[in-house]
Structure formats: structure tokens, C-alpha cells
Amino acid sequence: MPGDDAYAPKSPDLSSFYSAGPTPQVDPTETQQLFLPQQSKPDFSHLQYPYSSSSHPNQQRYQIPAPPHSFAHRRPTEYPITSQSPGPNVGVGHPSAAQAEHYPPRAASYPTTGYSTSGTGYTGAQAPPSQPQQLQQQQQQQQQQQQQFYSAQYQCSPSQQFSTSHLTAAHVHVRQPYDYPSAAAATAAELSRDQQFPATNHPDAMPPRRAAAAAAAAVVAARAASEDAPESHQQESATGEGGVASTNTIEPSPVKTKFPTARIKRIMQADEEVGKVAQQTPIAVGKALELFMVALVTKSAEVARQRNSKRVSAQMLKQVVESDDQWDFLRDIVGKVEADEKKGGASQSGRATHKGEASGTDEEGGGAGEGAAAGKKRRGGGRKKKVQ
């Protein structure tokens, strides 16, 4: 593409590409670390803008890593761009006029949807493979108007951008684990794209665009990255990120061991009302169970620490369960079991529980090692796929 060559030297802000490394610490790839020092907040804000804007955060969260979301935005804005530019000649011949024409509508669009428009406006440049003519037009347009866009953007929607970036920045630590596959995909695809399309450099436009393309083109890379759970954990703890995450109880699962899927399914189907279960469902439940355990275990460990105990007793578990309505469904279980222990502990008052814990220490160590073998995910071998 001629436009690329002509444009490449003029694009010093390749840094904008780097800005998409929202989870540098988490990503195992070396390339990710290169992007680390660059602006990371704007990226987060882009990736996560839907979260903060949405009334229902969960569903929005879901869409972020998914490519369709970005693509959906990409298409519509593609056409506005080309329609605004009647042809490359016009733009080149009368830059000022072209700018005057192009500029106002764009500027007007920024305040309303600061992120999506700024992002998707340039994602249109992603279309080149299928629409080379449009790409050239857009690139020329960009050359002329780049500065205008920047200024327009910052004039029109600085408050939005910064406010949202701040909002989402607060969630960065929490969300990292879930964003980083797409980010990994982004950077993976990014390397090649940096060379292919150096001309497209709009700092704010990059992340969504890359996320879209990356998710589509490098889903595999994302998966590979996300499956490198151990590495990410190591890096996280090394950077001290883990501490922050653990307080939010959404830490990127220190748990590498997975529950046997078949067992989960069987427990589910023990309820006679439960009929068929999709293949993915036990995996989802297993993940939820893992998070549930992390929350429960972490909290009871906190209780143990508060009591200067090295051992989490059933009593502490009970305390945790009763401390939060979220776990009210466990109260029967906890209450039933605790009743026995209380008989022993009641006469000797609270401290007695520590003795009980101490006696239990011996039993502990044995079980830990055995579980290793059971760790791997089980995928029902001969089972038919039942996903609807």
C-alpha cells in the first residue's frame, strides 16, 4: 500500500499502538512489556467504557472481550467517513475546505459518544483488506485532519474521556484478569499490524480497533495467553498486583486445579428436576465454584489471622458464612455442623477453638499432595455435544 509507506515516517505516535497493553503485568509475552510504560489508562477506559456507562455492568462486561461488539461499531462509522470525503483529490486539493467540511460533524459527534466515535472513526481504517480504496481515502483524510481530530477530540470531550478513564481506572485491578485475553490478542495482532498499517494512528481510536481486529484475528493467541494461568499469577504477585486483586476477591484465580467436570455435572443432576445440562455448563459452574471457594476460604483465612490462628476452624468458617447474607444458603450446613463443636467449645469459651484447631494440624498435610493428580480438567470423552 503506497499510503502506508508515505505515511509511516510521519507517524511518530506508534506509541498509540502500545497503549493497548492494558494488562502488561499480567501478560506473559515479552512484547507486552514493551507497551507497559506507555499510556495504559486511556486503553482501559476504552476497553472498559461500556462498563462504566452501562446500567447493567455484567452484561456489558461480557461484551468487552468479544469481537462482535467492536465490529458492530466499526461498520456504521465506516460509511460516514467515506461519505464525508467525496474523494482523495478533494481532500488533497483543498485541505482547508475539506477540513472545514469534515471537521464540524465529527466534532459534533464526539461529545455525545466520545469513545465509540473516536474509536470507531479510525477503525474504519481497518477495513483496508476488503476495501483498499476506502483505506486510501481515509488515510489521506487522516493525514490532513489528524491534528484537527486530536484538537477536536480534546476540545469536545476531554471531560468525558478523563472522567471515564478515572472511573475505569478504579476498576482496573479488578477487571484485569478478564480483560487481558483480549489485550493479549490485541498486542499479538498488533505487532503485525504495526508494520502493515503504520498510518493509522489515533491514540484513542487504537484500542477498540485493535481489540476488534485482534479478537477476530488472534483469538487463538488470546486463548493461549489466558491459559498461561501460572505465568500470569507469578507476574501478578511479583508486581504486587496480586495483593490489590485479592482484596477484591476477584483475583485471577490462584487456583490451577479444576474440579472434575463430570462430578459437578453429577451433583447438578442429583437434583431430579435438573434435566439435561449443556456441555459447557459444568465448566461454568466449576469456575463459579472456584470463585466461591476463593471468597469463602480467603475470608475465613482473614478471620483466622485476626484471631492469631494458623488454622481455619469450622467455627471461623461459620463466622464468615454468617457475616454475609450472600452466603445465607449455607447457614443450615454451618449451623448443623457447628452445633457439635460448640458443645466442646462452649464450656471453655472462645479460646477453646484454638485447641481444637491445634489438634487438627496433623491431619492436614497428607491430603494436599494427593489432589494434584485430580487437577486436570475433564472433558467427557465420548459425550455428545448438547449445546443448543
Binding site: S246, K310, I333, G360, E363, E364, V387
Partner: protein, 138 residues
Amino acid sequence: MSDHEFGGSDDLSLPKATVQKIVSEILSGSSGIAFSKEARDILIECCVEFITLISSEANEISEKEAKKTIACDHIIKALDQLGFPDYVPAVLEAAAEHKEVQKGREKKANKLEQSGMTLEELERLQQEQFAAAAARHN
């Protein structure tokens, strides 16, 4: 379905060793705190209860939607409704991951089928190609 993998179907608990391992993985960061055996047993019960809760809620949701199969979506909704919306993103990610892996597997499996030849035909073709290569070499 998968019951044949296990001898009896009345063992509706989670494997203790696995639970213990996960617990120690969770606690690995927090300075030597461990779970007592009683606490672990209760934890297992809690886990089973959790699964039951989620699945029965998901079952209701799926019935409302007139679906016969409990899908991932239903689990997500159940988590949301039961006060565990925090878990949703991670669960979604895990499910998506699994889906991708599954897709990859299917593709691989289909490669053989897509060749449009039976195994015998493929084998014959291979032999022919071997022979041709050998002839060329000599």
C-alpha cells in the same frame, strides 16, 4: 450420561483431595494459614450446596425460557440473581475458553472427514505417494 465413569452414583460430594489442594492453592499466598479437616469438610458441603443452589436456580430459569437444557447463560443469570454477579465475568471467560478449545478440536476432527475419503482410500493414496516418491528418488 457420564455415570459409567464412576462406580456408584450416590457419591455426590467433591473429591476431598482436590478440594484440599484448591484450598491450599488459595491460601498459598497467606502466610501459612491452613484449613482444619473439619473446616474442609464443611467447605465441601458448602460447595455442594452452592452447586445445587446454582443449578436449581439455573434450572428454573431454563424452564422459564422453555429450554430443556441448562445452558451457560442460565448459569450466568442464576449467579446474577443469587447475589454472585462478581463471578460472572470470570465464568464467562472460562466458558468462552472452553468453547474455543472445543471448536479447535472439532476442526481437527473434521479435517479427516472433510477429506471426503475413507480411511482405506487415504491409506491407498498414501502408499501410492510413497511409491511415487521412492520411484523418483531412485
